[in-house]
């Protein structure tokens, strides 16, 4: 195969290049030519094409995401902000925490097990790259209808992949979401969150400083994973005989990653790197250009030194390969011996592939021939930016003007049947068929995990400091009103954190949408970002990073707009956390917060084929007071569980089933009270002699509270409706095993 070099590119300026096949638009290709003053070599073309893709360059979302920085309150807790692999926040006691969500939606649709597994692998490396020890993962998931045949293919595979990879890494899985809606048929969402901890002084950045410092590639060997598109380039332009079709499926090797984690942590501890970057999407192209771009000089890379699993890879393919479990570090020559010794101890392959230079350009040679000569910034950061047209979809006003009705139970036996129906529906049913495939105990610091409101992990065994994380999205509300939907998701996530007893501190997000080229989708996206930025400002929380996933659609039908929001909270003493389950009999049950009876977007409406007409309007000022109320009341709450999907009915049932302790409830307007999902509400249990304390708190924070019942017995009794714990348990737990075996 002939090699396209810079010299050849200069000699043959007019060679035809398959830029369109690589996803570049004509003007983008022209821009590359302008930047370089010549046509790109095939390697350069490969690099620009992946780095300027939507996935890597955020070209459609950038103009909107700016708001996260512009509107944000200046937070002293934010040690590293948006732009690095993951943001870092100060949680006190010299600890820093980093967390982030990423999507792996499309790969998981093609190959559910490997797609989901490598999704976990990728986000864990992002966290590791910051210098942190990964301590937990979470997995917000969305599928088409639960009984659709394709869901039966996807869900078990995706769940096994998440477990297979995460369990093998020794990372407790402490929460996530599983939501079914027909809009995700053919386009499941697999989002993965990882959180890690380090000391302040251990924070690492992706940067290449100091001429003469060495660039080291370490971890797995490079194979043909994830380079389907680039094979086109290698074959059609430069070789008449097509190479064997390259797999676009990436296969994960969790053991390799586990060893890589231990190896990196030992390297960090010995302070052996100047900068470090993981290899994820766009592989070496991304790692080298980003490291060089963030540094002070240029970089020379000798591509033939990259250890290969498949010796037939072309340079273009080596640059593009998305082989998993690799890292790239910049190391001072004086420290390289020590660095290599640690790699050897862990049996990790490590190779010096180049060095930092005094120049300003990224040079890549292959067997001595110059194949890439670019200003790294133009690859990594100066990609195209689009201000895409937006248009408010017509369905919004149409729905807003519509009236909708759903049947509501009134008689006791109707109430009973309705509750049982609701809690057996796939979106509300017990998820332990899924979550029991995840190790939640490993590392021995998991204080709360699914099905609790948030996952809560101990950071320090002596001081009992801990962090809590929750991820939330309500796509139906986002569909009805993306601006409010985003605010409500953030509010819910904060509420989940505070319900467990932790104080919300920082926000990450994963914005899953349809095609940005559809103005109506783009409007949903713009409104979502505006809502999230406004909400963060109002709640005083910084956004530390996130991820955008576009093109989630089947044909021309987009998924529901699905902004998944992750909130990180801190708890000073994990022993003070509040669990969700009713712990004892003879406690008083209080509903905190007022309901308004709107059933729009609720699960009850969804069960009747209705989405409703309007999302609730987020009241963040009240949500803030509610968070303070919950944190102040921590010591008097015996249990607390927020009201969200499925309304009070679901909250009550989950609280009862956790420890199998019943409750007696009295409600007015019973159906609305049970099934409305009005935000800003929490169910708490307190000892009967704490009535005055809770009343005082309610006054102090101006939060309405309602005593709705007492705990005890073997039934959940709602007015005249009596449902035994056995009946509840059966309805709640049988759904998943029935659907997925």
């Amino acid at each position: 195969m002939s090699l396209d070099t810079v010299a050849i590119a200069e000699e043959n300026p007019n060679s035809v290049q398959p830029f369109a096949e690589l996803g570049l638009k004509e003007d983008e290709y022209a821009r590359i030519k302008t930047i370089l003053g010549r046509r790109p070599t095939s390697s350069e073309l490969a690099m620009y094409s992946v780095m300027w893709s939507e996935h890597c360059s955020y070209k459609s979302s950038k103009v909107h995401l700016k708001q996260f920085g512009e509107k944000a309150v200046k937070s002293a807790a934010l040690l590293v902000g948006i732009g690095e692999n993951a943001g870092v926040v100060d949680i006190g006691q010299n600890y820093a925490v980093t967390f982030k969500i990423e999507s792996h939606n499309h790969p998981s649709f093609i190959e559910p097990y490997q797609g989901a597994a490598t999704g976990i692998g990728g986000i864990v490396r992002d966290i590791l790259t910051m210098g942190a020890r990964p301590i937990a993962v979470m997995d917000p998931l969305r599928f088409g209808l639960a009984d659709a045949p394709d869901t039966r293919r996807l869900l078990p595979g995706i769940v096994a992949g998440i477990g297979g990879y995460g369990n093998c890494l020794g990372l407790p899985n402490i929460g996530g979401e599983i939501v079914f809606d027909e809009s995700y048929a053919g386009n499941p969402l697999v989002n993965a969150l990882c959180v890690g901890v380090m000391k302040h002084e251990d924070i690492k950045l992706a940067t290449a400083h100091g001429a003469g410092n060495l660039v080291v590639l370490f971890g797995a060997k490079t194979g043909g994973d994830g380079i389907g598109g680039v094979s086109v380039l290698a074959s059609e332009t430069f070789n008449s005989a097509k190479p064997t079709k390259r797999p676009s499926v990436q296969v994960g090797d969790p053991f390799a990653e586990k060893v890589l984690i231990e190896c990196c942590l030992e390297i960090f501890k010995a302070d052996l790197v100047i900068g470090i970057q993981d290899l994820g999407g766009a592989g070496l192209s991304c790692a080298t250009s980003e490291l060089a771009s963030a540094g002070s000089g240029g970089m020379d890379i000798q591509l033939e030194k990259v250890p290969l699993r498949d010796p037939t890879l072309s340079p273009e393919e080596i640059l593009m390969s998305e082989s998993q479990e690799r890292m790239c570090a910049v190391v001072e020559p004086a420290k390289i011996k020590h660095f290599m010794a640690i790699c050897k101890k862990w049996d990790v392959t490590a190779t010096v592939i180049g060095e930092v230079t005094t120049g300003e350009r990224l040079h890549i040679t292959f067997n001595g021939q110059l194949i890439v000569d670019v200003p790294p910034r133009t690859v990594a950061h100066d990609g195209p930016v689009y201000n895409r047209p937006i248009m408010k979809p017509s369905y919004i006003d149409k729905l807003a003007e519509s009236t909708f009705t759903v049947p509501l139970p009134t008689a006791a036996d109707e109430v009973k049947a309705a509750v049982l129906k609701l809690i057996a529906s796939p979106n509300i049913a017990d998820k332990s068929w899924v979550t029991s495939q995840f190790d939640k105990y490993v590392q021995g610091n998991t204080v709360l995990a699914q099905p609790e409101d948030s996952g809560l992990v101990r950071i320090d065994e002596e001081t009992h400091l801990g962090v809590a994380i929750s991820t939330d999205a309500n796509a139906r509300w986002s569909y009805l009103n993306p601006y409010e939907g985003a605010k409500l998701a953030l509010a819910e996530s904060c509420r989940n954190i505070a319900t467990s007893g932790a104080k919300p501190l920082a926000v990450t997000n994963c914005l899953n949408f349809g095609s940005p080229e559809d103005p109506e989708v783009m409007w949903q996206f713009a409104e979502t970002v505006r809502g999230l930025a406004d909400a963060c400002l109002e709640l005083g929380l910084p956004i530390t990073g996130g991820n955008v996933s576009f093109y989630n659609q089947t044909g021309s039908v987009a998924i529901l707009p699905t902004p998944v929001i992750g909130v990180l909270g801190v708890i000073q003493d994990v022993r003070e956390r509040t669990p969700m389950g009713i712990p004892a009999a003879d406690l008083d049950l209080y509903l905190i917060g007022k309901y308004n009876g709107n059933l729009s977007g609720s699960e009850w409406a969804y069960l009747h084929g209705e989405i409703g007409n309007s999302a609730p309007v987020a009241n963040l000022e009240m949500e803030k007071r509610l968070v303070d109320f919950l944190l102040s009341g921590q010591s008097i709450f015996e249990s607390a569980h927020d009201v969200s999907n499925g309304g009070l009915a679901a909250t009550l049932v989950e609280s009862v089933l956790k420890n199998k302790i019943g409750a007696r409830i009295e409600l007015n307007d019973v159906a609305n009270a049970l099934f409305s999902e009005t935000p800003g509400r929490v169910l708490v249990a307190i000892a009967q002699n704490k009535t005055n304390d809770i009343a005082k708190l309610a006054v102090k924070y101006q939060i309405p509270i309602y005593k709705i019942g007492t705990t005890g017995g073997t039934n959940l009794e709602i007015n005249q409706a009596v449902i035994s714990i056995e009946e509840l348990s059966k309805a709640h737990t049988e759904t998943f095993p029935r659907l997925f075996g």
């Binding site: 096994a160 093998c168 090797d253 053991f255 586990k258 979550t435 495939q437 490993v442 021995g444």
Partner: protein, 225 residues
């Protein structure tokens, strides 16, 4: 007198730090042992922790068994040296033939993490002497290949010699023969257990504190308290 217990880290071990925590909490001193060395560092007992040694790609424990540290452990164990294998450690012990039988895929083919009830069947081993006979405990179980299998003859021997140390109660998590959760060797110094006692040592992070008794049992016996 200090009680030194080694905890082996293989590449891919996961619950090593948890096992060390449990040993310390029981009053012992946890001594890290690395797979690549055959040095037992003068410990008085060894715990093989849970995890996925070498990724467990071939068969659980199949490759770990050949680690240098295992040579020392096998030799010592044959002379009565105390060894507790938890989960992957149990698998390594079977692969090393220190314990009979083998652990195979869970009958439902899924990894399973749950709080599992156990009945302690034998309190005569070094690692279970602190329990009362028939005691029922709740500790975490988490594995994908925990189904204990052996031939009928081995099963008869295990049962008739009272070498089944713990059995699953109320729920069959994996299809193990006779609901076996843990066994010991003839001498009682080598014990393999599928569930994880090191994750039941404080109520904050586990379903009970009953797991601690496995570690205090050995401590009391060896230190003679």
């Amino acid at each position: 007198m200090s009680f030194r217990v080694g905890v082996v880290t293989f590449p891919g071990s996961l619950d090593d730090r948890d096992a060390a925590r449990a040993i310390e909490m029981a009053g012992g001193t946890a001594v890290p042992l690395f797979h690549a060395s055959d040095d037992l560092k003068e410990v008085q007992a060894v715990v093989l922790p849970g995890g996925f040694s070498y990724g467990d790609y071939l068969r659980c424990g199949a490759i770990a068994r050949f680690a240098p540290i295992m040579n020392s452990i096998v030799t010592a164990a044959n002379h009565g040296f105390p060894v507790l294998g938890i989960c992957n450690g149990f698998q390594v012990l079977c692969e090393s033939h220190l314990l009979p039988g083998a652990l195979t895929r869970n009958s439902n083919l899924h990894f399973l993490c749950r709080d599992q009830k156990l009945k302690i069947e034998n309190t005569n081993t070094l690692w279970t002497s602190g329990f009362t006979a028939g005691e029922e405990i709740l500790i975490p179980l988490k594995n994908g290949e925990g189904s204990f299998q052996c031939d009928d003859e081995t099963l008869n021997i295990l049962e008739s010699e009272g070498r089944v140390i713990a059995r699953y109660l109320d729920f069959d998590p994996n299809g193990s023969r006779n609901l076996i959760a843990g066994i010991s060797n003839e001498r009682g110094n080598v014990v393999g257990l599928m569930p994880h006692p090191e994750h039941a040592i404080e109520t904050l992070t586990g379903p009970s504190t009953a797991g601690l008794t496995f570690f205090t049992s050995a401590l009391h016996q060896l230190v003679g308290r």
